[in-house]
Amino acid sequence: MKAHLPTSHSSVRSHAEILGGPTFRKGLLRSLPITVGYFPIALAFGMGAREVGLPGWVAILMSATTFGGASQMVALSMIASGQSLAAILFAVFVVNSRFFLLAMGVVENIAHWPMARKLTFGLLMTDEAFAVLKAAHGNSRRRFRSMECLGLVTGPVLSWVGATAAGYWAAERLPAVKELGLDFALVALLLGVLSCQVSNRFQFAVAVAAALLSTAWTLAGQSTLAILISAPIAPLVGVAWERVSVSRRAIAKQNEIVVEVLHE
């Protein structure tokens, strides 16, 4: 570890102390809605994996290493319909390439972290964690506290992997669980995150544009491309509208506020 890193004071403390520290716990607490929200979705995934005929270790390891709900569901349905390994990997890549855009969105906020923490956070980042962070910090370039962010992504991954195992185990024992609106859980989670994310009329316009574009692409039979095409185009609506209705200074301020988050 380089001694001149700005965060070197924290690396002096023991690992266990940092993981149990108040900042980490604050992140864990903030992850609670995501952690709880992932549980029924991963439960449904675990059950589906058993139905499709995945070995238990494959279902659990997939949740731990890919950790992306939409892509895992896509993979499951493609395995069930007998598609090739290459086709599945391509579909997973397309669905998850949105993580590139999300990671771009936090790169400035975590630039000052030690590399090990950046990698850990990067591997465990999801749409929901991203949205919670951006909602809490007002989409600014404020520096994120590393241990709080690591706490925020630890709860969800444990819940995701644990519930995958639980769902796989329960698949044959509790068939009635399937009828509790679990298929709406993922949609409800994403809707909840979106409604917390939309903070002004520009964000609202972008969401409407993306919804229309993506629906149109799906209607045209291009459902795999729907997110990939809409994600880069729809933000242009917000960019253009913000440019004509707000001063350049206000935009720059929105972009460039760098505030060190205060210690509690």
Partner: protein, 109 residues
């Protein structure tokens, strides 16, 4: 039921992890501390709203590939309270719970 071998399962797991984590890690590893241009920062602020809306809209508005704006569409009906509760309370768990309860009730009656 499929007939995949252990090797094929391992290839699937490794392949999925690689194509997913490359997208997650590339910006962190490649960009590092470089400053992004102002236009790009402004663009990126709008990306999450776009990605989320694009992921959800077809799941709510379409049914078996057809546009379904009818009251029989339980996802569409449940989406309204989910969005409103989320927007006004800014409470993720509450809005998810409301959405799932509404869907379950709509199916029961």
């Amino acid at each position: 039921m499929n007939s995949w071998t252990s090797t094929e399962w391992i290839l699937l797991l490794a392949g999925m992890a690689v194509v997913t984590q490359v997208s997650r890690l590339m910006p962190v590893l490649v960009l590092g501390k470089k400053k992004l241009p102002m236009q790009f920062s402004q663009f990126v602020r709008f990306v999450p709203s776009a990605v989320l809306a694009a992921a959800i809209a077809p799941a709510i508005l379409l049914h078996q590939g057809q546009l379904n704006m009818h009251v029989s569409n339980s996802f569409l009906l449940a989406a309204i309270p989910t969005l409103l509760v989320g927007y006004f309370s800014k409470n993720l768990l509450l809005s998810v719970a409301v959405g799932m309860i509404v869907v379950t009730l709509l199916r029961a009656y």
